[in-house]
Amino acid sequence: MNKVRILMTLICAIWLALGLGEAQAQATRTWVSGVGDDANPCSRTAPCKTFAGAISKTAAGGEINTMDPGGFGAVTITKSIRIVAESGVAGVLVSGTNGIIVSAAATDSVYLEGLVFDGVGTGLNGILFNSGGSLVVQNCKIFGFTQWGVLFTPTTPGKLSITNSVITNNGSTPGFGGVKVIGRAGATTISGVINRTLLANNANGFLIDGTGGGGASEITIRDSVATGNTGNGIVATSAGAVSSVVFVDRTNASHNGAAGIAATGVPAAAAILNNSNVHNNATGLLASGGQIGSFKTNAISSNGTDGSPTVILPLN
């Protein structure tokens, strides 16, 4: 009997010594490299190969860093995380599917910096934000997706920030384009900023849509350009009483195949312009059911039809 006890004790000791009895700890910071391996622990000295390989080894609230240029692949994010690439090209190259999907909890925040999303003409969405608290997109390039470059469609109140980014050549059919914000049931409020960003040569540039079942949504587009899109440059649309507003500040909407700035559906859909240029579009300002407000500080000219704001707002 004693022999059995000793044998069992020995087996337990060996098991624990090998670390087999405990769950693998997640690191707050992990690393990926173009020459890494997902079998590695994603440490600085033994980096992983892909974001998908690294994320399971990264603690919630942690950060994945790139060590060198590489293609790091698609990933689904289900927790607070930062993916920061400041080491050259950090590619997310996908075909027939989405680049990064965010399906996180209402309190989770996701930060993406320095990534190059390439849908090679068949990818679905560059970034598909299905749920989560907030999304920050910084210094990213997103192109070649058949649906949206960024589709922000939360189910709880959500915040979106896109800064210093280039979003081009997305949307293979007229219903898609660069960036779409559409809250679904449960997203009682959505707010955000698109700052210093190029929305060019997409099917449409930017769309804020109040018809998804969510609540009031407000996005500011500042110091940005919506140009060369085959459809509209910047659009607010809604139905019923759901407020859907885009503030367009110091921004250029030009050379778009339809309207430069449009507000459609119901009066609760509004585009409000300040210090912006709208020129060389088929239609400059299009208020079709929605409202276009102006502080009378804009330059609207040389469009097929210039159109005019429906509401003049006071400067104060």
């Binding site: 689904t76 190259l93 075909s95 989405n98 999907i101 068949t122 679905l124 299905n130």
Partner: protein, 149 residues
């Protein structure tokens, strides 16, 4: 022209209006929509021949798209775009009917391929599946069912 009777002028106007549409190639006209259908490849190990339980409701399980076009010669052209395991050859099937060929992913997992098959004998509802040699669990994809265009 001015001397033409009103009915004649109306007829000419109708012909002029109809000409641009008739001059468009078949692919550029609205009717072309019915010649193309699209399915989604979902990461799922098993299903029946009709893939009756395959749904594209979880974007994290979507691995690619399949576009099917009926060509003028009656053949079906299948364009496949996937992102799966890197540097891996996937066998692609018209499910329960026959193999259509192989797709080899590149080092970032993406790949595109085109196949053709005769529409004669194809089931009215098309389904596809694909998997690497040995069909390892977790590496198999099933398409959503799609009506023969």
């Amino acid at each position: 022209m001015c001397s033409l009777p009103p009915r004649c002028r109306l007829l000419l106007s109708l012909i002029v209006l109809a000409m641009p549409a008739a001059a468009l190639p078949a692919s550029a006209q609205g009717g072309d929509q019915s010649r193309t259908a699209e399915a989604v490849l979902v990461r799922q190990d098993f299903s029946d021949c009709g893939n009756s339980d395959v749904k594209a409701d979880d974007p994290s399980r979507i691995g690619g798209t399949v576009q099917i076009t009926r060509q003028t010669d009656g053949k079906m052209r299948v364009k496949v775009a996937i992102t799966a395991a890197p540097d891996t050859t996937y066998h692609f099937f018209l499910k329960c009917v026959r193999s259509l060929g192989d797709i080899k992913t590149q080092d970032e997992g993406e790949a595109t391929a085109e196949f053709e098959f005769a529409a004669d004998g194809a089931p009215p509802i098309l389904t596809f599946d694909m998997y690497p040699e040995g069909a390892p669990a977790g590496q198999k994809f099933q398409s959503t069912p799609v009506k023969l265009p």
